[in-house]
């Protein structure tokens, strides 16, 4: 396996960014990490994960879909799509890497979302194995190995060197583009690093959480559960959980009148909001209980029902950290579970 000394990371970033746009997680003034376009001298964050998820790269919070221009009785339809440039996202964690697979099931299924596909085709995902998972991590619940992340290429750090391994053609192309900086490394040391991380993962407080009692066939067990009232009781109805979630994929499409034309845009929507899926007759989910239930039923029952058993959560733990009232999918799973 190829490797590069950690003190040469800057050189690696320079080399990548010379040929395409590179995004890396970097620390903000408040200590939180966020993906930023790499500029010379920028330091890779030591945080476990970014505050916002990496889904923004493929499914941005807002984007224009099409413009309309009115002249007299004619309406001109303007396609605003542009071919994306090639870009690299470096340092994606195993949970976020899996979230792309989940988003793909939604956006790349027929009919293909060309806006999403455009960015997906041009993006190379370079993941980074975790070595210090947090108490809020439960990716293992969804069969994700934080010590061996997916992605086009994966990186592993043993504290001295960064090992890089390609998973597909795109990843190999990425490695080839920086090959002159890499040297041959002894992969045996890596197994040690992975085992150490896996030992920590086993000791995490949520290590024993399983999806055994959830899935596409559990609609009747949970839909009318009397637990929803208690679980949703304190929910503020804000969109924090949905907006920091790497797998939440619901959006709204609206027209914006610019005064001399229409911009049709889409933006993230949240099932927690009172006007979510509002139709001509009104809103199908009248109270926060129903909106709250929708979010968790979608992740634990409806999504697996439509996607060969795959759950709509990757256990990244962002909602556990960020919910203003600390209500989250882990508490929901534990409270609901009928064995």
């Amino acid at each position: 396996m190829l490797k590069i000394s950690l003190d040469k990371l800057g050189k690696l970033f320079e080399a990548i960014s010379a040929s395409q746009t590179l995004y890396i997680p970097t620390d903000r003034e408040d200590g939180a990490a966020e993906y930023k376009k790499y500029e010379s001298g920028m330091k890779l964050s030591n945080n476990l994960n970014t505050l916002r998820s990496a889904k923004d790269f493929f499914f941005p919070q807002t984007e224009n879909l099409v413009d309309f221009k009115m002249e007299g009785k004619n309406i001109e339809v303007i396609d605003v799509r542009e071919e994306s440039e090639d870009f690299v996202i470096f340092g994606v964690r195993a949970c976020d890497a899996r979230s792309f697979t989940i988003l793909d099931k939604v956006f790349l299924a027929d009919p293909v979302d060309s806006y999403y596909k455009n960015r997906r085709d041009h993006g190379t995902v370079v993941t980074m194995a975790c070595t210090r998972p947090a108490e809020t991590c439960f990716c293992g619940t969804f069969g994700i190995d934080a010590a061996a992340p997916e992605g086009d290429a994966a990186c592993y750090s043993d504290g001295e060197s960064l090992f890089i391994e390609a998973h597909n053609e795109k990843g190999q192309k990425f490695i080839d583009s920086v090959a002159s900086l890499l040297e041959e490394g002894d992969a045996a040391k890596l197994d040690e690093v992975r085992e150490k991380t896996r030992d920590i993962l086993k000791k995490l407080p949520l290590a024993n959480l399983t999806t055994d009692n959830f899935g596409g066939d559990k609609l009747n067990e949970y839909f009318n559960s009397d637990k929803w009232g208690e679980l949703s009781q304190s929910c503020l109805g804000c969109g924090t959980c949905t907006f920091v979630c790497p797998t939440c994929q619901c959006y709204d499409i609206k027209d914006f009148n610019t005064g001399h034309g229409i911009k049709r845009f889409r933006c993230w929507d949240s099932c927690m909001y009172s006007d979510f899926t509002k139709m001509a007759h009104g809103n199908p989910r009248l109270t926060q209980l129903e909106r709250f239930r929708q979010r968790f039923m979608h992740k634990l029952v409806y999504f697996p029902a439509n996607n060969n058993g795959e759950f709509g959560c990757v256990g990244c733990g962002r909602c556990l950290s960020k919910c203003p009232i600390s209500m989250n999918i882990v508490k929901v799973m534990k409270a609901l579970e009928v064995k």
């Binding site: 408040d30 200590g31 939180a32 030591n46 476990l48 505050l51 916002r52 919070q61 807002t62 210090r132 998972p133 947090a134 108490e135 809020t136 920590i200 000791k203 995490l204 407080p205 949520l206 208690e230 009781q233 304190s234 503020l236 109805g237 804000c238 969109g239 924090t240 907006f243 920091v244 709204d252 609206k254 914006f256 845009f265 933006c267 993230w268 929507d269 949240s270 909001y273 009172s274 006007d275 509002k278 556990l320 950290s321 960020k322 203003p324 009232i325 600390s326 209500m327 989250n328 882990v330 508490k331 534990k334």
Partner: protein, 323 residues
């Protein structure tokens, strides 16, 4: 304290004085505490918690809870009692359906501030004479207790309960806080520096509405920004300044009613210091109309709802705006 609260709540439930209790429920970790309503002694024994991490203000929940049948016991920290009073003043809660027990307040801790210090895998945390000792998956960690305080507790304005039916513990005093220091610092910046400061902070907004939804001063049945018929409802910004305007407009809307409880900044997932906008209004109201603390009482007329002949003239805006 927690034990005294549970015991008193059980008594009041048992003798029929109240049929529900609003407080805080234990989570998966030491810090992830959820506001909750309890209806039985068993539930209280199992899950009721009051400790360093119970920062949430439960006053706003009483808008809904006090309209239900029966009587609810609410445990209020000093800062929460100001929100409670303001809600009474605005006729948003039904006072006779609530039994208020004043409890000692913070300072409370914020796990996000611990994590910002690079401490991860948090399993436990306790204060040892100003040092926070944190038990983690990776062994014991230490940090100054002060650095882990919730942003809402950094400049506590009062340890005094402005309303209660009974107290557990002793009442405190209104404090001589330094809560306007940062506002003054911002005022002393040049217009450009101040603009840059707020642009950087407010541009982090992800429009989750947590600040609005947690705010005890934001109790409109239907917010204009949630109403598709309003013409201003939007889940996306039409330009990069819209998020900025949203927060400024919201601060205007709660001016003179904001008690400075700090919940907006506590819940912001992007760590935007939203409370500073509200404090600027509070400071200006104090200097233009005389000292006023929203929520201190339930009857006085708020400066912005009142007219006095010696009120400042509108030209004050121009005079103060000159650099």
């Amino acid at each position: 304290m927690q034990e005294a609260m549970i015991n008193r709540a059980k008594q009041l439930l048992a003798d029929g004085s109240v049929d529900r209790v609003i407080g805080w429920k234990r989570g998966e970790f030491v810090y992830d505490i959820t506001p909750a309503v309890f209806t039985s002694a068993e539930e209280l024994d199992a899950d009721f918690v009051y400790d360093d991490f119970t920062a949430a203000n439960v006053s706003k929940y009483l808008v809904k809870e006090s309209k239900k049948e029966g009587k609810i016991l609410a445990f209020l920290k000093p800062c929460d009692t100001y929100s409670f009073n303001q809600l009474i003043k605005e006729h948003r809660i039904v006072r006779e359906n609530i039994y208020v027990i004043g409890i000692p307040g913070g300072p409370k801790l914020d796990a996000e501030r611990i994590k910002a210090n690079g401490i991860t895998g948090i399993l436990g945390a306790k204060n040892d004479n100003g040092t926070l000792i944190i038990d983690t998956v990776y062994g014991e960690e230490k940090m100054p207790y002060y650095e882990a305080l919730s942003v809402k507790c950094l400049n506590c304005k009062s340890k005094k309960h402005v309303v209660y039916d009974e107290l557990i513990g002793e009442d405190g005093d209104i404090l001589d806080s330094n809560r306007f220091d940062m506002v003054e610092k911002l005022e002393n910046m040049t217009a450009q520096e101040r603009y840059d400061f707020w642009r950087e902070q407010l541009s982090k907004c992800i429009r989750c509405n947590a600040c609005r939804n947690v705010c005890p001063a934001c109790t409109c049945e239907k917010c204009v920004f949630d109403n598709p018929d309003s013409g201003v409802e939007n889940k996306a910004a039409t330009d990069s300044f819209e998020e900025n305007m949203f927060h400024i407009i919201r601060a205007f809307h709660v001016a003179g009613r904001c008690t400075d409880c700090g919940e907006c900044s506590r819940v912001c997932p992007q760590n935007i210091p939203l409370h500073l906008l509200n404090r600027k209004f509070i400071k200006d109201i104090n200097s233009l109309y005389g000292d006023y603390q929203a929520g201190e009482d339930t009857t006085s007329r708020a400066p912005l709802n009142d007219y006095k002949q010696d009120d400042c003239e509108a030209s004050i805006v121009h005079e103060r705006g000159v650099e």
